[in-house]
């Protein structure tokens, strides 16, 4: 196991870097896009609700791999040339944002409706009430399920291996197929994923305690 690591550490570190980078990008953008669709669905306009509902249902119910492959194969063919890393990360962002939208929406609905009535009666617009009063309270409720989404996101980033995204899983596949030491290779890959997800999990717990 040591030799696998010493002989391939550059590839492994590269993979770790790509996985981390993809995860951070996807986390950031899926949180924004997810919250956007959650708010859209809570808006008092039917047409916006329907748009949000369609987005969420479509991307929540298509396998991540299909979404990623779409961006890897179809988009370069008809739209613009993007590499595997970009295609995979976009797929990951869209897929995760659908789940985050559902989570954030549940959080918004968990906030006492009196808060919105109070804010609107006070003269605040829907958006002002949302950003100053409702969302801060909603996020407090959804930190535990959001933590789950983030951990899933890091693990799901292994989809990049299928679209040549240079991530951990991709490097692992290459090392395994050249050294034939599959057991040790995938153990090392697993440990490297843990190095990302464990601190994330710990941090979310810490945040949950701090805010409650």
């Amino acid at each position: 196991m040591i030799t696998i690591f010493t002989e391939n550490w550059q590839a492994l570190l590269t993979g770790l870097g790509y996985t981390l980078f993809s995860s951070i990008l996807a986390l950031f953008f899926s949180l924004i896009i997810g919250s956007f669709f959650a708010i859209l669905e809570e808006m008092p306009y039917r047409i916006l609700k329907i748009i949000a509902r369609i987005y969420i249902e479509v991307f929540r119910n298509i396998p991540l791999l299909v979404v990623a492959m779409f961006f890897y194969v179809v988009v370069p063919m008809y739209v613009t040339n993007i590499n595997g890393f970009t295609a995979g990360t976009i797929g990951l962002t869209i897929y995760t944002s659908a789940f985050i939208a559902e989570t954030v929406r549940a959080g918004i609905q968990a906030v006492d409706p009196g808060q919105m009535e109070g804010a609107r009666s006070n003269g605040l617009t829907f958006m002002q009430a949302m950003f100053h009063i409702i969302l801060p309270q909603a996020f407090k409720y959804v930190i535990p399920p959001l933590g789950n989404q983030f951990i899933n996101l890091v693990k799901n980033s292994s989809v990049l291996a299928f679209v040549a995204g240079f991530d951990l899983m991709y490097q692992g596949d290459i090392i395994a197929s050249t050294t034939f030491d599959t057991i040790n290779t995938y153990i090392i890959i697993g440990v490297l994923y843990l190095i990302i997800t464990m601190p994330l999990s710990y941090y979310m717990r810490h945040l949950e305690k701090k805010l409650s």
Binding site: R120, S121, N122, G123, T125, Q137
Partner: protein, 245 residues
């Protein structure tokens, strides 16, 4: 020009006829108390005045805007018409001071120093200057309601709506809230519409009393006339019951 005017207003919840042919005029500076048994439509009526409930038919003019017209920008009315709720609805994620300062800052773009001064003065007025940095969860019901009133007053509203402001309070804290409300009624010249069961309050400060039952206004009279000489049978019954308690 009346501050608030209902003209043949009808309101339905699906098949349920919540407000029936409401005609009501409230002049600027008037204090009107609405009473009646539960389920009579009092809360629905007061909630239509700042658009928390939509009216289905008729006209509802508030500070010159027609609320029955879907094109009316509701935020313009709410800027001038405050509301105090049964369950306070203070912003749970903000301190008391921030609760009071938020809307003037965002909606009126009031200067920060002036905003703070007004907020602190209001806290003084409602007797809770020491609670500026507290969060709503740390307050008693009576304290919360006084903060909620201060929050509404910070907007310098033309009219204030009170939807059963003392119904969720412990008996010993009700008087503090009523005192603040009486001071507003007597000193501020703000139009007030108050849904309440506090008959002492109505007698002391109301210009008029409106009695509702089954979604209708059955009686609309001066305060003295209503209490001393009620005309409707249901109003008489209601008064005899509520005064006995």
């Amino acid at each position: 020009m009346a501050m608030i005017e209902f003209k043949n207003v009808e309101k339905y919840y699906d098949k349920f006829h919540a407000l029936k042919n409401i005609n009501l005029k409230v002049e600027a500076g008037e204090v009107v108390v609405i009473i009646g048994p539960s389920g009579s439509g009092k809360s629905t009526l007061i909630r239509t005045i700042n658009g928390l409930e939509q009216v289905n038919e008729g006209q509802l003019l508030v500070t010159n805007f027609d609320l029955a017209d879907k094109k009316t920008n509701i935020d313009k009315i709410r800027k001038n018409v405050g509301m105090v709720f049964q369950h306070f609805n203070l912003y749970e994620n903000k301190t008391v001071l921030e609760n009071i300062m938020l809307a003037p800052r965002l909606v009126l773009k009031r200067d920060e120093a002036e905003n703070k001064k007004i907020a602190l003065d209001l806290l003084e007025t409602v007797g809770l200057a020491d609670k500026a940095q507290s969060y709503p969860r740390m307050l008693s019901g009576g304290q919360s309601q006084r903060i909620a009133i201060a929050r509404s007053l910070a907007m310098k509203p033309k009219a204030l709506l009170f939807d059963e402001p003392t119904s969720a309070l412990d008996p010993e804290t009700i008087d503090d809230v009523l005192k603040v409300m009486k001071d507003i009624a007597k000193n501020e010249g703000i139009t007030m519409i108050v849904v309440t069961h506090e008959m002492g309050f109505a007698r002391e400060v109301a210009d008029r009393v409106v009695f509702m039952a089954d979604g209708q206004i059955l009686e609309d009279d001066t305060t003295a006339e209503f209490f001393d000489n009620p005309k409707e049978e249901r109003a008489k019954k209601f008064l005899s019951k509520i005064i006995k308690h």
